[in-house]
Amino acid sequence: MSAPAPSVYSTEAQAYAVRLGLTMARANLDVFADTLLALARGDRNVVAVTSDSRGSGKLQPFGEALPEQLFEVGIAEQNLVGIAAGLASVGKRAFAVSPACFLTARALEQIKNDVCYSNVPATLVGISAGVSYGALGSTHHSLHDFAALRAIHNITILAPADNYETSEAVKWAAEHDRPVYLRFGKAKMYGLPRSTGGFCPGQAATLREGDEVALIGTGETVVHCLLAAAKLEAESGLSCRVLSMHTVKPLDVEAVLDATRSCRAIVTAEEHSVHGGLGEAVAGVLAQAGGAPLLKIMGLPDEDTVTGSQADIFRHYGISMEGICAAAVGACEGAEAVR
């Protein structure tokens, strides 16, 4: 039996999770696979297309239950996306499943032209995103996908924070007639508390109210933001707002602007390069807002990324409760200095 993967949450972070009543749930990948299978059982037009990713995409049960609705194309991402576009154009709800790193780099032109430009309802599912394949090195890290796809017209980019957002995102993609990129990792996730129900792409989910610092995460960094908010409030009484920006595009501009009105600092967190992702999207809004609060972008810097487990990489770059706390405090101090 192999040793369990180290947790991306420090011991202290896990203690704050207990204080917040968070419990460890399933990997978003598992929830994706189950949700897709349930949808496909009820609609034979829902199909999965995989590039030898039946195992890594947890689609084995799907293939066994509905072999007629699963298409295997082998290790060929360009073909994967082209086929998905063709299937979508003849009435299928095609979910093209492949590791995010390959899907969005090798098949970028197919995503741009066959899916987005042709405007067909295909969903591109980037699995094991970010540094999920931490130890496998930069070939397998997906730190460019937000940046690449944000620059492409006509695609909704969804990075769900937890199991709830994942299942809702899959259902939404199946119901809506448009190109979608859905991205998540493979580690088990904390379930996040929600005071308000509903999942609405384009509209950030507020997980915690606060009016001094806004912590805006996307995907699986959101839980780190929430833990950081708890720690900041406990240790320094800082009132933190936490947003799950599950839709990287179109960005919820209003939620960002709302944060600028009351908060003196904003910290963004993402499992992506600091270039071209959530942070720069938020920066783009702030720069046009005038009198904006200080912004700190947490992500992977523009360097030869360290390898190791996902936990090692998160710790190294401070995409963690501790790192986000430090960034928030630093940003607040910077804001004071400016005044």
Binding site: A76, N79, A85, G86, K92, N113, Y117, N119
Partner: protein, 284 residues
């Protein structure tokens, strides 16, 4: 579903000459376009749209219509002209070709009537067509899927990914037609980067392969009307001449995206008008 109106060989010959005139006319007016490749595939397109494809302006929304995807999107001018003559839109609309906000841009888009998918970047049509054919197979739908690929375009690896999957899934509802004019922008395809032997490559990938004269209507019709249940996708390699129909453009690489100067345009139109007159004379 309305069957297309099957035209006689004579009628197709005349139609193709007129289409070539229109290709030159609208490319010249626009000052942009892919002349050589358009002239090479006009006959193929006329056979498809007037004899083979079960699609018409009236049935374009029918989910059971046959699909045509032009992978070699660079020759969209030929497709526009053929679609216009088939009644998809009034040909005068091509006066806006490549102009500001025109739906008739320099590569196929679904903004223009009759176009199935946006193409133009090379190596995309076959994977898309495989997806369409797979979807049709799984639904036992009656439609067939056709895609036109340039021979130079076969250098794009995505074609071979798609060729593998088409055979793997036994897509006998799929036909790829190679516009084998042996030229690309930089010269002879065999000199740029030889992809010969194309027939053996497709055959070894599990396709049924047929060679035809890409300007012979009967041969093209027979090849494109292959049996519906062969268990294999079909590759039709159509021997064509780039710039076909205009003596000084034939088999000359520079006409890949050359636009005729006024005197060249006059000369080309004189030749095509003479060809049209000869066909009309022969009818009397």
């Amino acid at each position: 579903m309305t069957e297309s109106n099957a035209l006689t060989d004579d009628e197709l010959r005349l139609l193709s000459v007129r289409c070539r005139q229109d290709v030159l006319k609208y490319i010249s007016a626009a000052g942009a376009g892919h002349t050589g490749g358009s002239l090479s595939c006009v006959d193929i397109l006329n056979v498809l749209y007037n004899r083979v494809l079960r699609v018409s302006p009236e049935t374009f929304g029918d989910p059971h219509r046959d699909r045509y995807v032009q992978s070699k999107g660079h020759s969209v001018e030929a497709l526009y002209v053929v679609l216009a003559h088939r009644g998809f839109f009034p040909i005068e609309r091509l006066e806006t070709l490549c102009q500001y906000r025109s739906p008739f841009i320099g590569h196929p888009t679904r903004k223009s009537p009759g176009i199935e998918m946006n193409t133009g970047a090379l190596g995309h049509g076959l994977p898309i067509s495989v997806g369409m054919a797979l979807g049709g197979k799984r639904d036992n739908a009656p439609f067939r899927v056709f895609t036109l690929i340039g021979d130079g375009e076969l250098a794009e690896g995505s074609n071979w990914e798609a060729a593998m999957s088409a055979a793997h899934y036994g897509l006998d509802n799929l036909t790829a037609i190679i516009d084998y004019n042996t030229l690309q922008i930089s010269g002879r395809t065999r000199d740029v980067c030889s992809n010969e032997p194309i027939d053996e490559k497709f055959a070894s990938f599990g396709w049924g392969v047929v060679w035809v004269d890409g300007h012979d209507f009967a041969g093209l019709t027979a090849a494109a009307s292959a049996p519906a249940r062969s268990g294999k996708p079909t590759c039709v390699i159509a021997n064509t001449v780039k710039g076909r129909g205009v003596s000084f453009m034939e088999d000359v690489a520079k006409w890949h995206h050359g636009v005729p100067a006024p005197d060249e345009y006059e000369g080309a139109m004189r030749e095509l008008t003479a060809a049209e007159q000869a066909l009309l004379e022969a009818r009397r």
